[in-house]
Amino acid sequence: MPPIAVGDVLPDGTLSCFDAEDKLQQVSVHSLAAGKKVIIFGVPGAFTPTCSLKHVPGYIEKAGELKSKGVDEIICISVNDPFVMKAWAQTYPENKDVKFLADGSAKYTHALGLELDLSEKGLGTRSRRFALLVEDLKVKAANVEAAGEFNVSSADDILKAL
């Protein structure tokens, strides 16, 4: 698939997570995003540095500001299983707003055209680093990083698009 771009309709897909009662749930992307303003940001891997130390914390810190600008959901996705995503989310006890969803099979990442082969780093097929602003399933901003970079997909960058 070609990478998702501004003007595209956000594809539907299934992601997974553990809910508040610690039960494994499968979630449809459209059910989270239809009729709403959502930010979806993707990271190459749970427990890796840029993802853990810069990308995620930025969205946790700016969640309040993003919500005051009408953002309904802030979703972090990664090609990891839901157990790993849950454990990783737990390393951010201060987080209230960012949802950590698992794209374990990379199917949704493929649907977005944002997959990246990181086998050389021992990671396999993962996601590129990106941030999307989506309003009622229409992509309004699609900031996709070049490999290894962190210049356009942070919370500050997405705030500029709002």
Partner: protein, 198 residues
């Protein structure tokens, strides 16, 4: 007549026997006596590490040959880091028995799973096991596939993973080998069982 049989079958003992018979498990290509290095030629594992360690080691991998040749190794595989039985029973059974393994001259006690080495590292730290036993990632499942110990756990939202198993390997030769009937079981792959087999 049929309903009587069904009713008896519904009792737990019969049910367990029937279920075990019905469980279709693929059989591993390794068994006692096989050579683990020949079963997985050219395969490597990734030692659990932080990203910085990965960068400074240029994301190096460790070949199966280097892990097993000339050593006495106890190795156990499990379906996934951060999952229930793996975290709460399987790893702890080995970490709390480490002195017994050392007393039997074991060079390495290794935990392997189809996870990337960074997740394995964070998990090992969370379990406070990083300094006790060794953790390796089989990120693309190639090690488990070579030994025919791969298992599709997509139904549990884990994707391709592995069986739950343990082995005692001396200079690459398998001396003891245990595989659970189902990955959620924990009956034959713990430390206590393999200690008896060394």
């Amino acid at each position: 007549m049929a309903t009587n049989i069904l009713r008896r079958a519904a009792s737990s003992v019969m049910r367990e026997t029937l279920l075990t018979g019905m469980l279709r498990r693929s059989y591993a290509s390794v068994a006692v006596g096989s050579d683990i290095v020949s079963a997985a030629p050219g395969v490597s594992l990734q030692k659990a590490r932080s990203w910085d360690e990965g960068v400074s080691s240029k994301f190096s991998t460790t070949s199966v040959k280097d892990i097993f040749k000339g050593k006495k190794v106890v190795i156990f595989g499990l379906p996934g880091a951060y999952t229930g039985v793996c975290s709460q029973q399987h790893v702890p059974s080995y970490t709390k028995n480490i002195e017994k393994f050392k007393a039997k001259g074991i060079d390495s006690v290794i935990c392997v799973a189809v996870n990337d080495p960074f997740v394995m590292n964070a998990w090992a730290e969370k379990l406070q096991a990083k300094d006790v036993i060794e953790f390796y990632g089989d990120f693309d499942g190639s090690f488990h596939k070579s030994l025919e110990l791969g298992k599709d756990l997509s139904a549990a939202l884990l994707g391709p993973r592995s069986e739950r198993w343990s082995a005692y390997v001396v200079d690459g030769k398998v001396k003891a080998f245990n595989v659970e009937g189902a990955p959620s079981d924990f009956k034959v792959s713990g430390a206590e069982v393999i200690l008896e087999q060394i």
